[in-house]
């Protein structure tokens, strides 16, 4: 029974159900300290629960697949999120009359439009779709953070000022996007190289090695947040950049605890987050507006599909491996919303957004809908549509050697035909790495 259940229902759903159970018990017992639970606020979420998950995801990210598809991922993450925000916001504004003005509606749509890395990870980890599909959805959810942060702050500022946006404010918003994402990236790179350099000198205290690496990554997250840059982008960059050097520098014995520490911390955070989503149902003043909720769910689904189809069409004209209809469907369907959306909804200020409660409830509903309905049905759908699964590659040395050889070979061909493509950059990076970086950091 339990075995069959766990095959059908993803873990995240089970944890939410557990949370609901816990919440109802607390509620029934009239537990006075519910207030302490409601302290699950965005601060705790962003400072303590989110970083372990993104760190783990970034550190064990399949960088090869990620960078092979970086163009498409960026397209989805940046253009797709902006597209979703504005289309959902505008249509919701037109179709509903709850007395929410346009800016407030856009603020809401921007927090609801972004795909959530935690939810995507929780569901996709168990589905085992092929690597490209996985990295597209997951990469998007990681990188759209910068867009969401910028849009959210932009609309928030506009809402609190209560004015209509001026032209220059829009330009500042665009500039802010680059500052937030590139700033996060730079801080991540800085901490990564610092860690790589310092990890050369800590091999006499092996006990410290794993915790040192984790702490440095966390520092990159915190220092990015300090400047209001994207912490998620910062910590992911930091993890990706430091990994090859750190892995080589720390002892074999430290590598395993490092891995398990990250895995455990992230699954712990994930569990707490989903559990809290369940508990919170009994803890908030829910103001349910069925029509608004229904429209929101319909619109985010429709525009997600529309956005994916449009952007894939664009991406396919440049990609060598085209994305088929089935891939597009799974990509649209895999756009789960989660705790990031919810946390952003809770920090809305009632003073400026009078309909905050409705928005919060709707967000909870959307999160539940995506995690439960889409999360549970995605596996059968993947089976039904015969989506290409992740093939367990036979671990042969020749395959690995060959991958390296192909990188150089294709890079060489791109040099000959003078096309500065992906392999050209890969080769250049490797050259710089070998010649200048490794001597310093290894």
């Amino acid at each position: 029974m339990t075995k069959r259940l766990s095959k059908v229902v993803p873990e995240s759903c089970m944890v939410i159900l557990l949370g609901i159970l816990l919440g109802s018990i607390l509620n029934a017992a009239d537990f006075q300290n519910v207030a302490t639970i409601s302290n699950f606020n965005s601060r705790i979420f962003f400072l303590f629960l989110l970083p372990p998950i993104v760190l783990d995801a970034g550190y064990f990210l399949h960088t090869r697949a990620f960078f092979d598809n970086i163009g498409t991922i960026l397209l989805y993450a940046v253009v797709g999120t902006i597209f979703n925000t504005f289309t959902v916001g505008l249509t919701l504004y037109i179709t509903t009359d709850l007395g929410i003005n346009l800016l407030q509606m856009l603020l809401f749509s921007c927090l609801i439009a972004a795909v959530d890395p935690v939810a995507v990870l929780a569901v996709f980890e168990e589905v085992h779709v092929n690597e490209v599909l996985y990295i597209l959805v997951f990469g998007e959810s990681l990188l759209n953070d910068a867009v969401t942060v910028v849009l959210y702050r932009l609309f928030e500022a506009l809402v609190t000022q209560g004015g209509t946006p001026k032209v220059e404010e829009v330009f500042i918003g665009v500039a802010a996007f680059f500052v937030v994402s590139l700033g996060g990236m730079l801080i991540g790179i800085f901490w990564a190289y610092l860690t790589a350099f310092l990890s050369k000198f800590i091999d006499h205290v092996k006990v410290l090695e794993p915790i040192f690496v984790v702490c440095m990554c966390y520092m990159s997250y915190l220092s990015a947040e300090l400047f209001h840059f994207s912490g998620i982008i910062s910590i992911v960059t930091c993890a990706i950049v430091m990994k090859p050097y750190v892995e080589a520098n720390i002892s074999q014995k430290s590598r395993i605890p490092l891995k398990y520490f990250m895995k455990m911390a992230s699954s712990l955070s994930e569990t707490i987050i989903f559990m809290m989503l369940g508990v919170i149902l009994f803890d908030r003043q829910l103001e349910f507006d069925a029509w608004f909720t229904l429209l929101t769910i319909i619109f985010i689904l429709v525009y997600r599909c529309l956005g994916v189809v449009l952007l894939t069409w664009l991406a396919n004209s440049l990609r060598l491996n085209k994305l088929g209809k089935v891939d597009q469907f799974i990509m649209a369907y895999g756009g789960l919303r989660g705790a990031v959306s919810f946390s952003l909804a809770t920090v809305l200020e009632e003073k400026y957004v009078p309909k905050k409660n409705i928005m919060e409830t709707t967000t909870i509903a959307v999160v539940f809908f995506t995690v439960f309905v889409q999360g549970i049905t995605i596996k059968p759908l993947v089976n039904l549509l015969k989506v290409k699964r992740a093939v367990k590659r036979k671990e042969v040395m020749l395959g690995e050697v060959n991958d390296k050889l192909l990188d150089h070979l294709l890079g060489g061909v791109q040099d000959v035909i003078q096309h500065r493509g992906r392999y050209y950059w890969k080769n250049l990076h490797q050259y710089v790495d070998m010649k200048y970086l490794r001597p310093w950091f290894m």
Binding site: L320, V401, L405, H408
Partner: protein, 193 residues
């Protein structure tokens, strides 16, 4: 200059190359301009030195093998003088994307595999021997890994793939190992129009 130089390419040649390699006319003309640019002697043939002058290629650890690969289609006499445009295109055609529509005798999975195989097979004896592999590995990883370790890697790599235990990988064995590696996707380069 662009127009002028492409007019040196006879229409008939373009047709032939198109048939042989599957490139589009625009791609052929574009690559011809590049070819002329590389051809320092102006004799319509590229020597090894011409390839060697490409600055980006100079930092490629496998540059020798890559340059060699442009001569796989040349006969021995040609090799002295360099590869002409047609042979140049033939080599590049291996890197075209292989799809049902764009298939042609040069970019099938089999041909791609043969091409990769001949990169490994330095002494052209039809087998990837340990010596071949060791040379390739040395080129790729440089001096950062010790000789013994490289030897261990080469040994294990051969052992993994070697079905008839003759301490070498022949093409059939190579093909078998590469069956799961999606070579037809991995070995493609975009050619601009």
């Amino acid at each position: 200059m662009g127009l002028n130089s492409s007019s040196m390419l006879q229409d008939q040649d373009v047709e032939d190359i198109k048939k042989e390699t599957g490139f589009s006319e625009k791609q052929i003309k574009r690559l011809y301009i590049r070819f002329l640019h590389l051809d320092s002697r102006g004799c319509g043939r590229l020597s090894r030195e011409d390839f060697g002058r490409i600055p980006e290629l100079a930092i490629n650890p496998l540059n020798e093998r890559i340059i060699d690969s442009f001569y796989f289609h040349c006969s021995d006499i040609d090799e002295q003088e360099g590869c002409n445009f047609r042979e140049f295109m033939k080599t590049l055609a291996h890197f075209r994307r292989c799809s049902k529509r764009g298939q042609n005798p040069l970019n099938t999975e089999e041909e791609k595999l043969k091409f990769i195989f001949s990169i490994y097979d330095i002494d052209k004896d039809g087998n990837i021997t340990k010596a071949d592999l060791l040379k390739i590995l040395e080129m790729m990883v440089g001096v950062s890994i010790g000789k013994e370790q490289l030897e261990l890697i080469a040994h294990r790599t051969i052992q993994d793939a070697d079905a008839d235990s003759d301490d070498a990988i022949d093409f059939e064995e190579f093909k078998k190992v590469m069956a799961t590696e999606e070579i037809e996707n991995k070995m493609t380069v975009r050619f601009l129009n």
